[in-house]
């Protein structure tokens, strides 16, 4: 609820003065302990000044006990009411239906209770707040559920000794201890190689495109921007088909990790371009002017002023781009093709990948393979999580002075994670 967020900020100012008062008075309070010898000689002991007393900070608009009581009361009475109507009077059944009816009754009773006890306007406000908060809780809940479910399915069955050291070639259907003999090393190798190659090819192009769109603003940049936007909406399976039909069917390449990397580049390029362009746009134009006014050529301005200023944002964009492609399955289906055995060479022969292991193994009849698929999903999730944490650290790890020129620094990730407004902004310009 919003009051929770604000309660922390409001008393802050008061709290600061309290701490500073206590640090001032702390040494003074210690003084008498040292001074007693002087008292013995007949000198007056210095009276320690009283620690400053500050009134207890209050928040007039706090979400009080009464409000909590109304919400709890509404929730409970909605439960009772819906239980009676749902199961006793109408003999309906089903958990989801019950939940939806309970939620609607909860909203209604919240409004009614608040309107009765406080005021009608407050009641509407409260109901909207409840809807917004529950929507947020729902989203967080779904994410936690997905992560929790995969973890719950994967972790108990993980055979740590083999998961990261073996591939699937020794799989025996009859073996009761099969998990000890199989692992996903082949898929980890494949995923890492494919992603690294895709990044090595895609990121320079993406940064160059973003610079063209935002710094050079050259011929056709509007068209390029539209194409990039359209490209980012391309279904990823199309990227796979593209590489398959252009390079594999024509025998330019065989099924290989490299072909998969090229398909991933098609996915990576627009997403990184768009984020980098957004990051470059945040660089104040005054810096470009200052650089030009010092006699810098355009490439110098971009290389020495714009890119360093946006460095952490660019790094974040790249990490998020990696997170985007690391879990792509469709482009790999007919490019890397998947494999049960280790293949270190990304340029030759079929290669495994984590998403492919999940895709193929989870549909098998053997419980061992299904377990393995969940373990691969767990490893993949952990990989993405690590990348997101890295992205966060990089976007926070700014020089202190930089905060002044980029006040919306903290909002950056929020803007990255909510892609729709970025699109709107892009199309409006």
């Amino acid at each position: 609820m919003t009051p929770d967020g604000t309660t922390q900020t409001a008393p802050k100012g008061v709290l600061v003065t309290t701490t500073s008062a206590s640090t001032q008075s702390a040494p003074l309070r210690d003084q008498p302990a040292v001074v007693p010898p002087a008292t013995a000689e007949g000198m007056l002991p210095p009276t320690p000044p009283r620690p400053r007393r500050l009134p207890t900070p209050i928040r007039p608009s706090a979400f009080g006990a009464q409000d909590v009581a109304i919400l709890v009361g509404a929730a409970l009475s909605a439960l009772c009411l819906v239980w009676i109507v749902f199961y006793q009077l109408t003999s309906l059944s089903g958990g989801l239906g019950f939940l939806i009816c309970w939620y609607l009754a909860f909203l209604g009773l919240t409004w009614f209770g608040t309107a009765q006890i406080i005021e009608r306007q407050v009641a509407t406000d409260r109901v909207v707040a409840v809807v917004v908060v529950s929507a947020a809780l729902l989203v967080v809940g779904i994410v936690i559920f997905i992560v929790g479910w995969v973890t719950y399915k994967a972790v108990p069955t993980i055979h740590w000794g083999s998961l990261f050291t073996k591939d699937q070639k020794n799989f025996e259907v009859a073996d009761p201890n099969a998990l000890a003999h199989v692992g996903i090393l082949h898929a980890i190798i494949g995923t890492i190689e494919q992603v690294l190659i895709a990044v090595a090819i895609g990121v320079p192009f993406a940064i160059a495109t973003a610079i063209y769109l935002n710094e050079v603003r050259g011929f056709g940049s509007r068209t390029v921007r539209t194409v990039v936007t359209a490209m980012s909406g391309t279904p990823s399976v199309v990227a796979g088909i593209f590489i398959y039909s252009m390079l594999i069917l024509t025998h330019v390449l065989n099924y290989s990790g490299f072909a998969a990397s090229l398909a991933l580049v098609v996915i990576l390029l627009p997403s990184v371009t768009r984020v980098v362009e957004e990051v470059l746009r945040v660089v104040p134009s005054g810096l470009r002017e200052a650089s030009q006014a010092l006699g810098a050529p355009e490439w110098r301005t971009v290389w020495s002023v714009v890119l360093p200023t946006a460095r952490s944002g660019v790094v974040t964009a790249v990490l998020l781009g990696i997170a985007r492609i690391v879990g792509e399955t469709a482009p790999l289906l007919f490019t890397a093709f998947g494999s049960q055995v280790k293949n270190w060479n990304p340029f030759l022969h079929d290669q495994g990948a984590l998403p492919l292991v999940i895709w193929s193994d989870v549909r098998q009849a053997q419980p061992v393979l299904i377990d393995l698929a969940f373990q691969a999903a767990f490893v993949l999730m952990a990989l993405v999580l690590i990348l997101f944490v890295l992205a966060r650290i990089f976007s926070r790890a700014k020089g202190k002075g930089r905060a002044k020129t980029r006040p919306d620094e903290d909002d950056f990730l929020a803007r990255v994670f909510i892609p729709i407004p970025i699109e709107e902004r892009e199309e409006s310009t």
Binding site: P284, G286, L287, E289, A290, S291, Q292, A293, L294, G295, A296, P297, R300, T301, S304, V305, P308, T309, R311, G399, K400, G401, R402, A403, K404, T405, R406
Partner: protein, 282 residues
Amino acid sequence: MTTTLPPAAPMDPGHPAAYAGTSTLGDPGQIDAEGVCAWFSGRLVLETVNLTMEKSKVTALIGPSGCGKSTFLRILNRMHEVVPGAQLAGSVRLDGVDIYGPGQRAMETRRHIGMVFQKPNPFPAMTIAENVLAGLKFSRISPASKDDLIEESLSKAGLWNEVKDRLGELGGALSGGQQQRLCIARSLAVKPRVLLMDEPCSALDPTSTLRIEQTIKEIADEVTVVIVTHNMQQAQRVSDYCAFFLAEENQPGRVIEAGRTEMIFGEPTDQRTFDYVNGQFG
């Protein structure tokens, strides 16, 4: 576009390095603007400005908002053409060499005619020292002694004592006034012959403003200063010459009156100048 070649140019004005070799500090330049007009997207905003900015003097451009002072200033070091849709006519001569003449490159010109902007804009990814040296880095010039140049430039900008122990900190860590003086130091480090200042104090508090004004007076004998300001007192305090710009209703901006500062403020010949400097409009 009328390009008037100077009668006694020191070098062939068509040569890219026409005034490159003679640039040393203590060698301030004189700027003659002749018949300067400016358009934004086809709309005339500045009409036939003839103005001479004397060597080693401070010239203040005053006038109400939107009268083309800043546009004129940006024409003086070819920053006007950076704006999309901007056009111009006329000639601007630095010590007799037309900066818009054939073969003259904008980058080269901007090294000789530096600029300080309204909003302090040190490069946030660079340290204080790197900021000072940025212009040289951009021009691929390595000074004889970087440390000496940093100290010299920061001292001239009146910032050395405040930052000498924290040269490795990022430029953005300074206060607004200090940032602006860092920008002045950065511009002075490339040893320009003219320094253009576009309302350099309008984002600053009175104390910082005073420091900048002192700085302007101190550097004036080494570099010609042209300053745009909205502050009448500031124009009176720092400038030797003054030009009053005005854009009357539905008219492009023009220079109404120009001359010695005492004259403009003391006994202006034009009624509009009198009204403006006495705060009766604008």
